[in-house]
């Protein structure tokens, strides 16, 4: 049986100065449907969602909610029509309780004195949570919750305004597999309740698991809509990219030789236990594990961001004391951090400024700047990494995720590292940019750079690595050579098996 149409967007046009963000885009959502929006970064998904959320207004086009044309001129109006967006970065007040967050701005008041009626707030929150997070206590403080639980609070918030069109923007980006399972269960329950869900994710496997239909956008244009059960991965990638994509993972394996980095019995109380491994020139050493297994912390210790209690680090067989990032850099270690917006980039500054931040001493001598040298350096990396930008003076915050990630890579390649630590190098990056980044990593390994690649995407670790270390609760739970690579085996170690 075909469910009635809940939302229809027709002929949506949106122009920003110099950019045609959306060009005649259409979208349709039925009751009880999970409808994915798919596209590379910059394809127009975010813009479309922002129009739906009342943040931007379309230059042209028609939006119908339950068959009635509406004018979504503010977030408030969008909410009133039952549209609720759960953003990738959750917007909760950490120091308030679950219930307070759900009803933030819409508090119930006692009839006398107009005080906040906590009893009613908690009572109502409990009712809503029964649907989307039965284990959550309305009185719990949000800062004590996991990311997954916070997401449930966001969903509860959406339900509390009687939203029946719920947009989820990359909801699984920072969830563990188990948490993803829980989220999907909730989504299925929302479907039962005949709500419509717009689902945005870069993780293709998820789309096949949870969605009913998939609409693909590319360069601001509507490309097509497919029934999930009638399509397959390759077709979707073809629609998204609009061109034949070569092999995603490129890896020329080669004999690796001398050890460039050795870590012996590294320990940090409560974080890392007895970590030992070696990294050879030209080798890609994958680090797999669940979120919180200590992989990023290990990277931070090696790079001098965090201290450690005991253990030794050797660079080319010589013991080194890494007390700060600048010491690590002097040993030619580089770290491309996990979170590019928070740790990687100064978003309000230009591409040029960001790339050169790590290597200023090459061309700034006291008060004299060699602008030509600076320009050449930046230009070389922009070309080599294929950073798409009209100018190297472009503010980094205006670039797409993939291009931002390339700027972070450029900034660290500029230091000519011999040990390059990549922490989730392709997180939130579209598939085209992903392929380019893999090709780059492969080329760097071929040049002799020793690479540590931390990744939560198993296909990525398995296809790119020479060896894989699996971490669990701060220790190395298993070590695999290429012949032994196997998803299940890695998950076995990652979840504490031996």
């Amino acid at each position: 049986m075909i469910e009635p149409i809940l939302l229809e967007m027709r002929g949506i046009h949106k122009q920003f100065p110099g950019v045609y963000a959306l060009n005649n885009v259409a979208f349709e959502l039925r009751r009880g449907e999970v409808h994915a929006l798919l596209g590379e970064n910059g394809a127009g998904k975010s813009t479309l969602i922002k129009i739906l959320a009342g943040v931007h207004s379309a230059n042209e086009g028609e939006i119908l909610v339950k068959g009635r044309p509406v004018n979504l001129d503010s977030v408030h109006t969008a909410n009133a029509y039952g549209i609720s967006v759960i953003h990738q970065e959750l917007c909760l007040v950490p120091e308030m309780t679950v219930a307070e967050n759900i009803f933030l701005g819409r508090e119930f008041q006692t009839s006398f004195w107009k005080m906040v009626d906590y009893r009613q707030i908690n009572e109502r929150a409990r009712k809503i949570l029964a649907l989307c997070g039965p284990e959550l206590q309305p009185e719990a403080k949000v800062s004590d919750l996991s990311i997954a639980e916070q997401q449930m609070v966001e969903i509860a918030k959406a339900l509390s305004i009687n939203a029946d069109i719920i947009v989820m923007d990359e909801p699984t980006a920072s969830l563990t597999n188990k948490e993803v399972g829980l989220l999907f269960k909730i989504i299925k329950e929302l479907k039962e309740k005949k709500m419509g869900i717009i689902y945005i994710s870069h993780r293709m496997e998820e789309l096949f698991e949870i969605t009913d239909r998939i609409t693909v956008l590319r360069d601001g244009k509507y490309i097509g809509t497919r029934e999930t059960r009638n399509t397959h991965r390759e077709e979707l990638i073809g629609l998204m990219v609009g061109r034949e994509l070569g092999e995603l993972y490129q890896r020329n394996y080669q004999e690796t030789s001398d050890v460039v980095l050795e870590v012996q019995n590294l320990a940090k109380k409560g974080v890392l236990q007895d970590i030992s491994f070696t990294l050879k020139r030209g080798e890609i050493l994958g680090f797999a594990g669940l979120v919180g297994a200590g992989r990023s912390e290990l990277a931070q210790v090696i790079f001098g961001i965090e201290t450690f209690d005991s253990g030794r680090i050797y660079i080319e067989q010589k013991p080194v004391e890494i007390t700060s990032p600048s010491v690590a850099m002097s040993h030619r270690i580089a770290l491309v951090p996990e979170n590019r917006k928070e740790q990687g980039l100064v978003l309000i500054k230009s591409i040029s400024y960001n790339i050169t931040l790590t290597v200023l001493k090459q061309f700034v001598k006291f008060i004299k700047t060699d602008h030509q040298k600076e320009f050449n350096l930046v230009h070389d990396y922009v070309e080599r990494l294929g950073i798409k930008t009209p100018s190297i003076d472009q503010q980094v915050g205006n670039l797409s995720g993939g291009n931002q990630q390339k700027v972070v890579l450029a900034k660290w390649l500029a230091t000519k590292p011999r040990v390059l630590i990549l922490d989730e190098p392709t997180r939130g990056v579209d598939i085209g940019a992903k392929a380019e980044i893999y090709a780059l990593i492969n080329a760097l390994a071929a040049e002799g750079v020793g690479i540590i690649m931390i990744s939560s995407e198993l296909p990525e670790v398995i296809n790119m690595s020479d060896r894989i270390m699996v971490m669990h609760k701060g220790s190395i739970a298993g070590s695999l050579i290429r012949d032994e690579f196997d998803q299940e085996r890695i998950m076995h170690y990652a979840t504490g098996g031996n």
Binding site: F303, I305, K349, V364, H371, T389, S391
Partner: protein, 334 residues
Amino acid sequence: MEVKVLANHKNGLVHNYLIRPVVNFFRDNLGILLGLLGLCVALSFLSPYFFTIENILNVLRQVSTNANLALGMTLVIIIGGIDLSVGPILALGGTLAAGLITNNNIPVPLAITMGVAVGALLGMFNGVIISRTGIAPFIVTLAMMQIARGAVYVYAAGQPIRTMVPEFNFLGNGYVGPIALPIIYTVVLIILVSILLNKTKMGRYIYAIGGNREAAKYSGINIQRVQVLVHTLIGAIAAFSGVILCARMYSGQPTLGNGFELDAIAAVVLGGTSFSGGVGRIGGTIIGVLVIGVLNNGLNLLNINSFWQLIVKGFVILLAVYIDISKKKKRLKQ
């Protein structure tokens, strides 16, 4: 959509050191420049005395202290901090120099050096506490405001210390041609701080720390060192300004500098420096200083009493910053 046209890079001394800075200056500060211009035009009509060389030089001399403090404050605010202690440090530096000269017969250059050094030390103390303990700059410098004010009262026993040494007094009252010495110090300082901010590695680090501290740390920048340096610098600048002001008044004044930090902050904010850090220009700050100075001068010339002046100043700051913010919002929203 393969856009790969990169900015055309012209390399040349004239372009890098003259044309580009000037073009940027006008582009970045158009709004407040127009405001300043409008203010000057209006005052020229309202008061025949306003647009005279004499009055203009007078205004420049009057704003020189605030300009010095605002220069330091610009750096502090760009790294995402604030310094409330500049007024008392200014009083301490100046009074100490005057006291050493009058009470201890210390030679003028040495006394000045000591005054400035104490200011630098207190600034350094601010920087060290902020960077090592993580106490908010607002709190640390609020405490220092009390400490330095107390120290100068203790040192001078709450009384002004007169200085009879002409060489010292000349530093605040002398002229080169028609131009008062304090204007010259300020111009030199503007040049030095501009070079620091725009031409050195330290300058880029200052923007990086304010723009994204975490990313700065991950880039190998020694954040603590930059914080200490910037606070030391503003301490030294404040003490130096105090020395000059005391020389101008022929005496060390322990009560000097009340509220100076607020004027400096106001000038920086008027100049478009963002309180969230990472954004700000020396050029903007200088215009901010001038707006406040011209406003003070104009209201004086129009015989508006100083109580009303405060009220007017407060509203002008609100208005100017509001215009600035709504302009930025518009640019973002487009």
